[in-house]
Structures are given as structure tokens and as C-alpha cells.
């Protein structure tokens, strides 16, 4: 038996026009948690998909328990005991949780699916994970975090020997992440080997014993977590040093820009009031499903609140649809960049100019030259890693997609910028850049609302922190006074059970 459970050598994977992996290697020891880190687009997810047989590598070899394997498809990998939770959810929104968990290896008797047994089994798994929803709930009605849990349950259900988790914490808050850590620990105890991808350093420190870094499709090195410093790791990942992770500029806070009073929307949030001033960054946080997204979407006209008022620069504004908000200068960077933020099959340039296209148009005719120049300028301003403005947004990595969303916002006239989870799934380098952009915007006198589930980010960037829980505002903290514990306490004020169960 070899020293490694899984070993890959000289893997090269080429997509049309992109070399996603260039001669990379990787070793996984039995029972270890191995972190895989690297910038957005470094090829981590692609690498995972090569392991699970979704992609076929052009070159390279793979050894499982010392034996050379060649997976023809995902099924082979599953049968060999590899389970993966992919970065982008691979769930079936119309099916129940139990079915999602057991898709591909249903519990059967005489070729008939045993629903009862399957539901029970699924409930057992969910209980292990401390999930608060039932296995008969429909997947599509669950929150992102809950869906993530189902994905993990799915991986557990196969009794895999190798479990791969691709950015499982990206959309999780602190509390939920802790839950996940616990599960990973459990798995480790059972002797399962785990590959763990994350952009969060805390995850790595908490879980992994070794870390492998990729950069620009290449293998950089494998390090013992104990023997490496933050700065070294960042250097390995982004190829340069980042001095200040949270470059929060000192800005003089100006007049009140946006004020929300007693905003309510039945079933989503109730009686939410807060305000934000020019040059100020207000952090809006809470557990997943606290209703933060719903509040700002109501402010921006995506949905309409049932009650409450919104004031901009002291005057009440009536926003019925997104274009009204844009006209007023309230710009939203939506949470789900793939579905709400970008048109994935379109070129970057067109994405950037989509909301403002009529501004450059002459008599309704598009001014393509201006558009191209503008999108080039904006995309370079946010330092997007792209070849040209015509490549489809789907060809970019997550962090770079987020930058395109920022560029898209920059093309508009802004007063208030609302960023919903702007750094979700974004690498440290790009994160720092997005924070820098955020700081710049504040300096220019825009009012900023930052929704985030990441504690360091909230603490590091906000002037003021608004905490929500279960659809209500539970508190507001100043920059000086706020600590992780205080925020957590407010965020869990009423407990958070029963959301999935209500379905």
C-alpha cells in the first residue's frame, strides 16, 4: 500500500483557449485534511473535477491507493469512494432533500425506491449535521446554507473514503462554519481523507494539516500548516505581498444619504430601520437567512415592501422597480453574481455596460465604440484578470466575475452602493482589491452598505454594524465597540430554528 490515498502527477487540462492546469501534482495522505488554496482561476475547481472524472485531463496520471486509475466519468469516481461537494451547487431544486442526497444510489428493493427508508436515512444524516429541516422538504425552498448542508450529507451518504469540499464555507456565517468544522472533524476521526478548498484562512488554520497552493494553473508547493505564516502563504498564492488586508481609509463621514424607516415585507422581514451617511460603510450582518438580502432588494425595487419608507438625502423616494433605484443613484451589487449579476454567456464588455447602455446611445442606437472603451477602462480599473472584453463572463473565475459586477456598478451614477456578499468565493488578493475599491468609493463620498457573513470583513471594513436576526434588526454597533462575540450574540438573539421546517 502506498503512502498516499490519492496521488496525481503531471496533470494538464486544457479548455478551449485556456490552460486551466499545467503539469500540477498533488498527494493526499490517509486521514488528513488537506487544504487546496490559490487565487481565483488558479484551477482548483478544475483540478477537483479532474479527480472526480467530470473533466478528462489531457495529460497526467492518477493513483488511488497506489493503483493507477482512469475514470471515464463521475460514476467511476463515485464507485471508487470519492465524493465531492462542488463549488457551484449541483442540487436538484425540484426534488426533495432525501432524493438529492441519494441521487444515483437510491435505496431500492425489487427495483423500487424505498421512500420511507430513504427519508429516514436522510433524516439521520441531517441530524448528524444538526440540520433544522426535514428530508422531505423541497430543495429549492432551502436557503443557500441549508443547501450546502444537503450537499455535505450527500457526500456522507456514500460512505466515501475521500471527501472533497470545494469552498463549502463561501456562503456560510461563522456559526454555520463551526458546524461544518465539527462535521469535518467527525469524518477525519472515521479515517476519511478530505480535500478542502477555501479562500478563508481561518478555515485552513482550523482544519488542515497540510496545504497545497496553485497559482496560474501551476503547482507552487505543499506546506505544513504549522510551519507557515500568513504572509508566506499569501505570497505563494498571489505572487506578491499584501500588506493591509483591510485597507479601510479614514473618511470624514458626511450627511445622511439613505434612511430606511420601519420597512416590512410579510414573511421576509419586519420593521427594519437604519441609515447610512456619505462616506460611511455600514456593515449589515446576521446569520444566513436573516433577511439581509431581502431588505436591500426591497430598497432597490427588486421586490416591493409592504410597509415603511425610504429616504434619500432627506427626501422620501418611491422605488417601484430596479430602474427607479438606479435613477436615484442607489446601486445594488446582487448576491448571486451568476444568476442576478451577470449574463454569463455574454462578453464582459456588454455586461459592464448593460445598465447604462442608453446613456451613451445616440437616438437609441448603441455607441459600441464608447461602450468598448468604457468597459475596458472600468474592467482595468478593478483589475480584472481577462484577455479581452469579448470573452464570456462564464470563462472567468468567481473573483473576477465579482470584479466585473463591480465594474458594472461603477459605470452608473451612484450615491448609495449596496454590496451583497461582494467577496463571496473571492481570493485574498482580489478581496483586498475589492476592499480597496470599496474604500475608494467611500472616499469619493458614496454611502456604502456592505452585506457580509464574514466576520473579519465586517469588523475590518465597516464604520457601523447593523445586525439582523430572523427578519428583524437586533442591534447596531459602532466601529470601536463591536466585537465578534457581540455580533454573534445579536445575530442569534432569538435562535434560528424552524425556517426550513416551516416549509
Amino acid at each position: 500500500m502506498s503512502e498516499y490515498v490519492l496521488e496525481l502527477k503531471g496533470i494538464t487540462k486544457i479548455f478551449p483557449g485556456v490552460k486551466a492546469l499545467n503539469n500540477v501534482q498533488f498527494q493526499l495522505k490517509p486521514g488528513e485534511v488537506h487544504a487546496l488554496m490559490g487565487e481565483n482561476g488558479a484551477g482548483k475547481s478544475t483540478f477537483i473535477k479532474v479527480i472526480t472524472g467530470v473533466h478528462k485531463a489531457e495529460e497526467g496520471e492518477m493513483y488511488l491507493f497506489g493503483e493507477k486509475v482512469d475514470f471515464k466519468g463521475p460514476k467511476d469516481a463515485q464507485e471508487a469512494g470519492i465524493a465531492a461537494v462542488y463549488q457551484h451547487p449541483t442540487s436538484y431544486p425540484h426534488l426533495t432533500v432525501a432524493e438529492n442526497i441519494f441521487m444515483g444510489h437510491e435505496i431500492k428493493k425489487n427495483h423500487m425506491i424505498q421512500w420511507k427508508a430513504m427519508n429516514e436515512e436522510a433524516n439521520k444524516l441531517l441530524k448528524q449535521l444538526n440540520a433544522d429541516f426535514d428530508s422531505t422538504a423541497e430543495m429549492g425552498t432551502l436557503s443557500v446554507a441549508q443547501q450546502q448542508m444537503v450537499e455535505i450529507a450527500k457526500a456522507l451518504s456514500t460512505n466515501a473514503k475521500i471527501v472533497i469540499l470545494d469552498e463549502p464555507t463561501a456562503s456560510l456565517t461563522k456559526r454555520e462554519s463551526e458546524e461544518l468544522y465539527r462535521i469535518v472533524d467527525q469524518l477525519k476521526e472515521k479515517g476519511v481523507s478530505i480535500i478542502f478548498i477555501s479562500h478563508r484562512f481561518e478555515d485552513m488554520y482550523r482544519l488542515a494539516s497540510r496545504v497545497t497552493v496553485f497559482r496560474d494553473s501551476q503547482y507552487i508547493g505543499t506546506y505544513d500548516v504549522d510551519g507557515i505564516t500568513n504572509a508566506d502563504l499569501i505570497k505563494a498564492m498571489v505572487g506578491r505581498e499584501i500588506k493591509d488586508l483591510f485597507p479601510k481609509p479614514e473618511v470624514k463621514i458626511g450627511d445622511e444619504m439613505l434612511r430606511i424607516e420601519h420597512l416590512s415585507r410579510t414573511g421576509y422581514f419586519k420593521d427594519v430601520s437604519f441609515n447610512v451617511h456619505a462616506g460611511e460603510i455600514v456593515g449589515l450582518t446576521g446569520l444566513v437567512g436573516a433577511g439581509r438580502t431581502e431588505v436591500v432588494e426591497s430598497v432597490c425595487g427588486i421586490t416591493n415592501p409592504d410597509e415603511g419608507k425610504v429616504y434619500l438625502e432627506g427626501k422620501e423616494v418611491h422605488i417601484k422597480q430596479p430602474s427607479d433605484a438606479m435613477k436615484e443613484g442607489i446601486i445594488l451589487l446582487p448576491e448571486d453574481r451568476q444568476k442576478e449579476g451577470l449574463i454569463m454567456s455574454w462578453g464582459l464588455g456588454r455586461n459592464v455596460t448593460l445598465p447604462t447602455i442608453s446613456k451613451y446611445a445616440k437616438n437609441g442606437f448603441n455607441n459600441e465604440k464608447t461602450e468598448r472603451d468604457l468597459s475596458k477602462r472600468l474592467l482595468e480599473e478593478v483589475d480584472t484578470k481577462a484577455v479581452d472584453i469579448f470573452q464570456p463572463a462564464s470563462s472567468l473565475s468567481g473573483g473576477n466575475q465579482q470584479k466585473v459586477v463591480v465594474a458594472k456598478a461603477l459605470s452608473q451614477e451612484m450615491k448609495v452602493v449596496i454590496m451583497d456578499e461582494p467577496t463571496k468565493g473571492v481570493d485574498v488578493g482580489a478581496k483586498a482589491e475589492i476592499y480597496a475599491i470599496m474604500g475608494d468609493l467611500a472616499k469619493k463620498g458614496y454611502a456604502i452598505i456592505l452585506i457580509s457573513s464574514e466576520m473579519p470583513e465586517i469588523l475590518g471594513m465597516s464604520d457601523r454594524i447593523v445586525v439582523m436576526c430572523n427578519g428583524r434588526k437586533t442591534g447596531e454597533l459602532g466601529r470601536g465597540e463591536a466585537t465578534q462575540e457581540m455580533i454573534l450574540e445579536l445575530a442569534m438573539e432569538k435562535g434560528t430554528t424552524g425556517k426550513g421546517a416551516a416549509k
Partner: protein, 331 residues
């Protein structure tokens, strides 16, 4: 975990809403024309809508994977015409054989459609529009350009529809059998669930090792099979085979599914929904001529209005149900 109350379940499920609409239709029609609610009238209705009812099961599968098939009535015409001509010229005489041949032709037609869609990546609406023309033309060619196979030529075969078992025509038993088979197939077999999975999230299905292409191939083949069965039933029920039969009928089948809550973008829909949808359409067709206050000229318009009202009312009810569910959420 608290159990959902019965009322909530009722207002929460689309099928329940449809059942309510169907019951309402029944009540209204029975008030207008009491003879509607008799065993004979209802079995008549089922028999006369057998083709749509059976084929909406296939359309359910096709729509579940996000596809659509508008070639089905051409397939029906081709199979119906083929067995019609075979019987007429006495190449075959056995009813069983006729059904086998019809199913075989249907499967072949469906398989070809499925191949083109799954292997050559042709969008379903284009592929099936093409095959709609092709199979219909083949139907005409089989009929030697417009010959009919009429009752006298169909021999024993037409008796299939008039033969009764336990008081109901065999045709109705075929419908019941199909629905039972599909109910089990869609709910309790892995392949049935794969169909849902592919429609719900094709890329996820791909990643989790489901052969999406084969599932697509399968659903169009199933559709073909049922179209073949539809062809045989049509010929048997009406004791006549014509090359232009059921032209435009595919819309009824699609409408039945959509009314039954089958989503056109895939993933959502049930056998029960297909059943209720096709029953609603069947009821409308059966009841319209019974309603005495309208001039016959108005029938089509009224049919259209009823379909529109049914789908709109369904949406309104759904919205109200959703809103009530939200109100119940505590914060």
C-alpha cells in the same frame, strides 16, 4: 417538526388546486346538464379523450426534461395509417399484432427524434417541428395519398374499442393501466427519478454521473411509444384511419400538461397533474356541446376562454396560497 395541517397541504399543492377546479367544473356542468354525471357519460368522455390522456403521459416525461414534442400527432397519424393500411390490405389481421406494430413504429419514430435531440443537440422545438412535417408526409405516403381505412376494412381490430371488461371499454382499461404504470414508474423507479433530475438541473445530473443524453433519448422514445399507442387507439376507437387525423392535436396534449402544472422549463410536474390537466380538457370538450345557452358558433371562443381562465385562476390561487404561507411565518 410540526406536521402540516390538512388545509395548508390542500392550498399548498398545485394538484389539489386543480382538483378543486375540476370539481367546480363538474358541479357547474351537472347543474346545467344533469346527465353529465352518469357512468355512461363519464366513460364516454374517457374513451373519447383516450388519445390525449395517454399521450399526455409521454409529454409529461418530455416536458420534465425541459423539452417539447410537437411531432406526436404526426407519429400518431403515421402509425395509425400504417396499421390501417396493413389491416385493409389484409397483410395482418390480428389485433395484438396490430398493436405491436403500432408500438414498434411509434418507438422507432420517437427514438429517431430522441437521437436527433440528444446526440445532435438540435433544440427540441426545431427537431420536432421537422419531424412533424416528415412523419405527417410519411403518413400520407403510406396512405397512397389519401386513402382511408374505414370500419369495414379494419376487421377485428376495431372491436378492441367496443369490447368491455368489467363494464368498461378496454380503451379505458388501457388508460388506467398507462396511468398506473407511469405513476409507479415516475415515483418508484430510479429511471423515473432520473428524468426529474435531468429536468431539474441538467449540469448537476451530468456531474453526478447520470447519462443525460440517454435519459433524453429515453423520454422521446417513450413519447413515441405512447404516440404509437395513441395511433392504434385512435384507429380502433373511431374505426377509421385517415392521414390527417389529429392534426393540431399536439396542442391539446401540451395544454393538458401545462394546465396540470407541468413546467415548460423542466423538473416540475406529476402524473397526477397530467391526469387532472387532461381530465379538465376532456371535461370542457365533453361539456361544451351540452351547454344549451350558447350558439354553436361560440363554442371555440368559450373553450379558449375557459382554458385561459383555468390557467389564470390557478396562478391566482397559487399566489394567494404563497402569500398566506408567508403570513404564517413568524419573525
Amino acid at each position: 417538526m410540526e406536521k402540516k395541517s390538512f388545509m395548508k397541504k390542500l392550498t399548498g399543492s398545485r394538484e389539489a388546486l386543480l382538483a378543486v377546479i375540476l370539481v367546480l367544473l363538474f358541479v357547474v356542468i351537472t347543474i346545467i346538464s344533469p346527465s353529465f354525471l352518469t357512468f355512461k357519460s363519464l366513460t364516454d368522455m374517457l374513451k373519447n379523450n383516450a388519445v390525449t390522456m395517454v399521450m399526455s403521459l409521454g409529454m409529461l416525461c418530455v416536458m420534465l426534461v425541459g423539452g417539447i414534442d410537437i411531432s406526436i400527432m404526426s407519429t400518431l397519424a403515421l402509425t395509425g395509417m400504417s396499421i390501417g393500411m396493413l389491416l385493409k390490405y389484409e397483410h395482418i389481421s390480428s389485433t395484438f399484432l396490430a398493436f405491436v406494430i403500432a408500438l414498434a413504429i411509434g418507438i422507432a419514430c420517437g427514438f429517431l427524434v430522441g437521437l436527433v435531440i440528444s446526440r445532435a443537440d438540435v433544440p427540441p422545438i426545431i427537431a420536432t417541428m421537422g419531424f412533424m412535417y416528415i412523419y405527417r408526409a410519411m403518413g400520407y405516403l403510406v396512405s397512397h395519398n389519401g386513402e382511408w381505412a374505414s370500419a369495414a376494412a379494419l376487421g377485428e381490430f376495431k372491436n378492441f374499442a367496443t369490447t368491455k371488461f368489467l363494464g368498461m371499454s378496454l380503451v379505458i382499461w388501457v388508460i388506467i393501466l398507462c396511468y398506473v404504470i407511469f405513476f409507479v414508474f415516475m415515483k418508484w423507479t430510479t429511471i423515473g427519478r432520473r428524468i426529474y433530475a435531468v429536468g431539474s438541473n441538467p449540469s448537476a445530473a451530468e456531474v453526478s454521473g447520470i447519462n443525460v443524453k440517454n435519459i433524453k433519448l429515453l423520454v422521446y422514445t417513450i413519447m413515441g411509444l405512447l404516440a404509437g399507442l395513441g395511433g392504434a387507439l385512435q384507429v380502433s376507437i373511431y374505426a377509421s384511419a385517415m392521414p390527417d387525423m389529429q392534426q393540431g392535436g399536439e396542442m391539446d396534449v401540451i395544454a393538458a400538461c401545462v394546465i396540470g402544472g407541468v413546467s415548460m422549463s423542466g423538473g416540475r410536474g406529476t402524473v397526477l397533474g397530467a391526469l387532472l390537466g387532461s381530465l379538465i380538457l376532456a371535461t370542457i370538450a365533453k361539456a361544451l356541446p351540452l351547454i344549451p345557452f350558447f350558439d354553436q358558433l361560440w363554442l371555440n371562443t368559450i373553450k379558449g376562454v375557459i382554458i385561459l381562465v383555468v390557467v389564470v385562476v390557478n396562478i391566482v390561487l397559487q399566489r394567494t396560497a404563497d402569500k398566506n404561507a408567508l403570513k404564517g411565518r413568524e419573525m
